[in-house]
């Protein structure tokens, strides 16, 4: 039974948000009511739940986080300093609320903030598809309380010239930030979106984000998520994609920050010939817990999925990978591969890996592999024999290990930015060990 004293603050916030909900479409209100009820019934996941076996949320569930509607209007000054110095269109979320005033209006794309989008038939049509995915209670919480979101439509055959850069900034102590991004890619549309999660130093907040994308026939999406939250913060995010025929997706998740983070990537192939690539890199220090979960549902034949998840773990950090590939009956000619590689840099670090295949069709090529190990001592020796000191040598090898993931970032400016953040992180790791 869930602990009601833990959940009461959320029920209270839900009551407080009632006036905002009244402005929304009926179907959205029903959906939120159902989700809230479901969240209160289940409570926060515990380690007894098989899916959360390695990720202990007690520190999170014991803290009271609140969503304050007033936070959606407060002044926000450091907008300029947060803007990426890249050739991109920027959208701002502050404490989980979308801020259209300070966001760019990208050309060729329709960007609508959520309460408004709720009344559009396109939004309803898009949201209908996502019922397919199973929900855990954190996702229910987002559906119930995530008021500040954005609906982005990329029309048919539109190719976005510049990436969409979505900044999620959090600075409210004890804040529950629940951004929601819904993206609809029209037929043959092409786009790159970057989600960048950051927060003010020392603030303990909880980001519970949801990004849902629908790829119409032949659409191609590149998605890159940077998680550099403050080390005091909690982070949970789900990225979902429905891929119809011949669509292509590449999603990269980079987990550097927060004390406990979980990224869930769910993909459904609803039409034949779709392809997806899910990759991730976690770099853990101190007592960080960095968790990645994936679920790829091959519901249509002739689709291909590729997963590569890497963890570099120092301090007493913990890296977790749970990947599920389901190939349904008659989804012949499926191609699915999962790889999870873990590098343990210190004696206290832990890695848990659960790659899972469920195959119900026979004409398939499916495989998975997982390795948990350490740097190759021969390689370290080689570098040292060339006059490189040990710390630097280990740094070089760890960077090389990570490079495979970063290579996947096609935008040069972004790649440089990520590389910089990773080097900083690895440097701290090197000093720690």
């Amino acid at each position: 039974m869930p602990d009601m004293t833990e959940l009461q603050p959320y029920a209270d916030v839900y009551g407080k948000l009632a006036p905002l909900r009244r402005r929304e479409a009926d179907w959205l209100r029903v959906m939120r009511d159902d989700a809230m009820r479901s969240f209160l019934d289940q409570g926060f996941p515990t380690v007894q739940d098989e899916a959360w076996r390695y990720t202990d949320l007690r520190a999170l569930s014991g803290t009271r986080f609140v969503t304050d509607p007033a936070a959606s209007r407060t002044a926000f000054e450091n907008e300029k300093s947060l803007r990426p110095e890249l050739d991109v269109d920027t959208l701002f979320f502050v404490n989980g609320w979308f801020r259209p005033q300070i966001s760019d209006q990208p050309a060729g794309v329709r960007v609508t903030s959520l309460p408004e989008a709720g009344h559009s038939p396109e939004f309803l049509e898009t949201m209908r598809h996502f019922h397919h995915f199973p929900m855990d209670s954190l996702q229910e919480l987002n559906v119930a309380l995530g008021m500040g979101g954005v609906f982005i439509e990329v029309p048919d055959h539109t190719k976005l010239k510049r990436p969409l850069y979505i900044i999620h900034w959090s600075d409210s102590h004890g804040g529950l930030c629940q951004p929601k991004t819904v993206l609809r890619m029209g037929r043959g549309a092409r786009a790159t979106i970057i989600e960048d999660f950051r927060g003010a130093e020392g603030k303990m907040y909880f980001t519970n984000s949801m990004t849902e994308t629908f790829l119409d026939r032949g659409a191609a999406l590149e998605h890159c998520k940077l998680q550099s939250e403050d080390r005091a913060a909690f982070h949970a995010a789900v990225f979902r994609a429905i891929q119809t025929e011949e669509s292509a997706l590449s999603s990269i998740s980079l987990a550097f920050g927060s004390r406990l983070a979980r990224h869930t990537g769910d993909v459904l192939f609803s039409g034949p010939g779709a392809k997806c690539s899910l990759t991730a890199l976690s770099v853990g220090e101190g007592d960080q817990v960095l968790d990645h979960v994936t679920g790829v549902d091959h519901a249509s034949p002739a689709c291909g999925s590729e997963q590569l998840f890497k963890n570099i773990l120092g301090g007493s950090s913990r890296g977790i990978y749970t990947g599920r590939v389901l190939v349904r009956r008659d989804a012949q000619k499926s191609d699915a591969h999962q790889t999870n590689r873990n590098l343990l840099l210190s004696g206290m670090a832990k890695a848990d890996s659960r790659p899972q295949l469920e195959i119900l069709a026979d004409d398939v090529k499916c495989s998975h592999g997982a390795v948990i190990g350490q740097l190759d001592e021969d390689s370290v020796f080689y570098l040292r024999s060339r006059g490189i000191d040990e710390k630097v040598a280990r740094g070089i090898l760890a960077t090389a290990f990570a490079a495979e993931i970063l290579e996947g970032i096609k935008h040069d400016g972004l790649k440089e930015k990520v590389l910089h953040r990773m080097r900083e992180k690895l440097k701290r790791l090197g000093e720690e060990t």
Binding site: E50, Y54, R329, D330, Q332, N342, L344, L345, S346, G347, M348, A349, K350, A351, D352, S353, R354, P355, Q356, L357, E358, I359, L360, A361, D362, D363, V364, K365, C366, S367, H368, G369, A370, V371, I372, G373, Q374
Partner: protein, 478 residues
């Protein structure tokens, strides 16, 4: 091929019933039944206490539901927990005293005890329904100091060993089926190999369920003392019946310093008919404890029978430098379901484990590999290698792979690899264009797929396993 699963088809050759009068306990389970069993077996007091404790624990437990298998609820009060061939009451002193009918049964099974007597090689302890019928070669084993006898006898003749080791690897509280087994187990095999002894022959147990409606609960306990070695084989069959029968066995292995135990199973319980009617529910707990330094436990299993298999032969690698191995072939055809795998728990330093698992699914069969590799912080320099491959034959079958890998120190290394695919068209084509029939080609490819595991079986079993898997193509020309 018209029906790709047909190559695995085989008439179940062991589906006969032997008309032997048997003495059975009434249906159902309560403390009185346990007392009845204990009394029948003439057991010392500690055994009854232990059973009753297990029963009390079992009543508190819930049947596990996490495995990827589906079956109707089992009514545990509708099972007969004890059945013994009547004429066996006084126990055979020599082979000649064994019931002729029973001996005939074993002949049909292909393990004529008489012949075993002459052919030096395997010492057999045969368990018929719930009691141990005969143990061959006891004299010869005794010479070398090896104790190999039915469990019920060991309880009387070596109570101190039984009391010391029983439940030390699989405690009564371990899981639902192990607790049930602990409460009602009727017989099984016991083996103790003393210090420094290399067991002079392969030991073997043959299990058979004969009576209807009975559950078979056998218990096997093998102890290899310092520097000892033993190789143990286990085989199982049951008659064809429409109703599902329960088999919940527990096997415990203990290996002391530098000891080595090799445990091989060819499991060929009745699997049910083509529509999935009948068959054995095989819910087994097998675990080995590598207690001493440099000890080794190796599991090899060939799972071809049973309607449902639910078993995870595991190794607890407690001693430094100890080694655990698991080699498995699991075949599911028609409506069979198998959820099997292993646990390798690395506790000692420099421990090593190897897991090779091959799953073959045909028609509506569903095979699941579920495994855990756990390396705790103090298990420095531990090493694991896991490979599990699945072969799919037909588009209605399924294969799941659920490994769990947990590494908690940074000097250890764990590797896992798995693939799922069907038989390679090119390989098939190559064989066909060399003039092989489709069945022969499939059979050869499947045998090749399993070779790594068969190689680890003792000779006699390797032959049987290969035959079980491959030669049964007769009458299934596609």
């Amino acid at each position: 091929m018209t029906d790709p699963g047909s190559f695995l088809d085989k008439e179940y050759r062991y589906g006969f019933v032997t008309p032997v009068d048997s003495e059975t306990a009434p249906r159902g389970l309560n403390e009185d039944i346990i007392r009845f069993i204990s009394k029948k077996k003439n057991e010392p007091k500690f055994m009854l206490r232990w059973r009753l404790k297990a029963y009390a624990e079992w009543k508190k437990m819930k049947e596990p539901s996490w495995a990827s298998v589906q079956y109707p609820a089992i009514d545990y009060q509708d099972i007969i927990y004890y059945s013994a061939p009547k004429s066996q009451k006084d126990g055979p002193k020599t082979m000649d005293e064994v019931d002729k009918e029973i001996l005939k049964t074993y002949e049909k099974l292909g393990i004529p005890l008489e012949e075993q007597k002459r052919l030096a090689g395997v010492a057999v302890d045969a368990v018929f329904d719930s009691v141990s019928v005969a143990t061959t070669f006891r004299g010869k084993l005794k010479e070398s100091g090896v104790i190999f006898c039915p469990f019920s006898e060991a309880v009387r003749t070596h109570p101190e060993l039984v009391e010391k080791y029983l439940g030390s690897v699989v405690p009564v509280t371990d899981n639902f089926f192990a607790a049930l087994n602990s409460a009602v187990f009727s017989d099984g095999s016991f083996c103790y190999v003393p210090k420094g002894i290399r067991c002079p022959m392969e030991l073997s147990t043959y299990f058979r369920i004969n009576s209807a409606d009975i559950g078979q609960f056998e218990r096997t306990l093998i102890i290899a003392d310092d520097d000892a070695f033993v190789s143990y084989l286990e085989g199982c069959t049951a008659p064809i019946r429409d109703k599902n029968q329960l088999h919940a066995a527990v096997v415990e292995l203990v290996a002391h310093d530098r000891a080595s135990i090799k445990y091989s199973t060819v499991q060929n319980w009745y699997a049910g008919d083509r529509d999935g009617k009948g068959g054995i529910y095989n819910f087994v707990t097998k675990r080995g404890l590598c207690k001493g330094v440099r000890s080794k436990i190796s599991w090899t299993q060939v799972e071809t029978g049973s309607a449902i298999t639910w078993k995870y032969p595991s190794c607890i690698l407690a001693g430094d430098d100890s080694v655990g191995e698991f080699y498995s072939v699991a075949t599911v055809n028609n409506h069979q379901q198998a959820d099997t795998g292993t646990k390798m728990i690395h506790l000692g330093k420099n421990t090593k484990s190897t897991v090779i698992s091959k799953g073959i699914s045909a028609r509506f069969g569903k095979a699941t590999y579920r495994g855990l590799v756990k390396i705790v912080p103090r298990a420095e320099n531990a090493r694991n290698y896991t490979q599990c491959d699945s072969l799919l034959i037909g588009d209605r079958c399924g294969a799941n792979t659920f490994p769990y890998i947990e590494v908690e120190n940074h000097s250890s290394r764990a590797e896992h690899e798995a693939t799922t695919s069907r038989i390679d068209e090119d390989q098939l084509f190559y064989c066909r264009q060399r003039g092989m029939t489709a069945e022969n080609a499939v059979s050869m490819i499947v045998n090749g797929f399993c070779k790594e595991v068969f190689r680890n079986l003792p000779m006699e079993f390797a032959v049987e396993a290969t035959r079980l898997l491959g030669v049964t193509l007769e009458g299934s020309v596609g």
